[in-house]
Symmetry: C2
Subunit: 246 residues, 2 copies
């Protein structure tokens, strides 16, 4: 299902070992975590958790992407987070997920049984400290996204999303963000719309617009080429230099 292999018996081979919630742990702590952890995999599109579900675990995303969504009764939904490798799922001290969690791509997560994890948190400040760091980063991302949702035009929203996805993809493969970047969209038009607070038709139209303007090239539905990243970034409405957390 997932391409990248790693030895689930050995955290030293784990691809997210340096950024996950366990990244500050010493080997004794890792050993304790090891005794309460297990892996789960999901195929693209599968649901990991429904809003209101009881959670018996918290988890780290190891491979793939998951989405966090909130819905209204009438069917409107808003994605409130994209969880990438090393991101954390769940909240210590809470039993039910307030959000729907869905595997956007094929997904592997590293689960920790909740009760013992919470007990460990009290004893090992390393975990709590790292979780605080990660939560503060997520809060910054959420606020960045509030600006996008509240004030950006559809055009700027699409450009912003593409910029983020392209940059992330480049980082993932340790490439320097260069001209002629190529990557595969992990999101359907509908998922993009849910994330951006738009309809899928508007997303499609804006994508076509960017294509016609020569700012992006599309190959099939998913493959995107960005001949000039600066040109795309100029469409985001953002300051050229600063910002762009996430």
């Amino acid at each position: 299902m997932n391409k990248i292999a790693f030895d689930t018996k050995n955290c030293g081979t784990c691809p997210i070992q340096h950024r996950a919630v366990c990244s500050h742990c010493d080997s004794a702590e890792l050993q304790m975590l090891d005794s309460i952890k297990y892996y789960r995999s999901y195929e693209a599109g599968q649901s990991v958790l429904w809003a209101g579900d009881h959670m018996e675990f918290v988890a780290s995303v190891v491979l793939g992407i998951a989405s966090l969504s909130q819905g209204m009764e009438d069917g409107r939904t808003q994605m409130v987070g994209l969880l990438l490798p090393s991101d954390f799922i769940g909240r210590p001290g809470r039993n039910a997920s307030p959000y729907d969690v869905v595997a956007v791509t094929d997904l592997t997560i590293c689960c920790f049984r909740k009760k013992p994890f919470e007990e460990m948190m009290l004893k090992t400040p390393h975990i709590a400290a790292r979780l605080l760091e990660m939560t503060l980063d997520e809060l910054d991302s959420a606020r960045e996204w509030m600006l996008l949702l509240g004030r950006k035009t559809a055009h700027e929203k699409i450009a912003s999303l593409l910029t983020i996805l392209a940059t992330r993809d480049a980082n993932l493969y340790k490439k320097i963000p260069l001209d002629g970047m190529v990557f595969d969209l992990p999101l359907t038009r509908e998922a993009m719309a849910d994330y951006l607070g738009l309809t899928l038709e508007t997303v499609s139209r804006q994508m076509s617009g960017l294509k016609k303007a020569g700012i992006i090239q599309l190959e099939g539905k998913r493959r995107v080429t960005i001949p000039d990243i600066a040109r795309l970034m100029a469409e985001t409405g953002d300051d050229m230099d600063g910002g762009m957390l996430v």
Copy 2:
């Protein structure tokens, strides 16, 4: 400036002692905090911090309300948080504020010198643990707001904001949210617009609409009466029962 008085020499008289970042601290820890803290006050409208400013402190809101805002170069701004008494300003390990912080009402904050506060955090898990709790709560609030910004109509946005403000006000004065609630809007129409991702004209029109529909009554610009809170909540688009964090 602020009505409620408390003895700044004695944390036992502090109105936010049970909810602030210091709420889990024992008396020895409070004493340490006491040695690195000082108070500041601002009048309504004054700026506390500009985005990019160097911060020599972190702080707790004691009295009044502050706003966190993000701006784009062309002048568009989006409020990304409303800080109420007990809420925390600043981030350990970061030197510059990424947001504008403005006193919405007259405001008093309890500042801790950043360097020693960060050192204390490493030693006293009580502080870090409470800050983690508070940050997770803020993250939930931010995500709730993302749903509002991305998917709610202007009408629903206004109803949601009024519901939240009314409920908070009732809590603050330990009243049970009842029919015939009366409170003063702490926000100008422009601030409401910035928070809701609307223009001030749209805010004004929607307020007039709710008034004409008899769902709210307005006295002067700021005083709001809500004869039937359930009727207002029915306009928010939310599930009647759950949700409504914050």
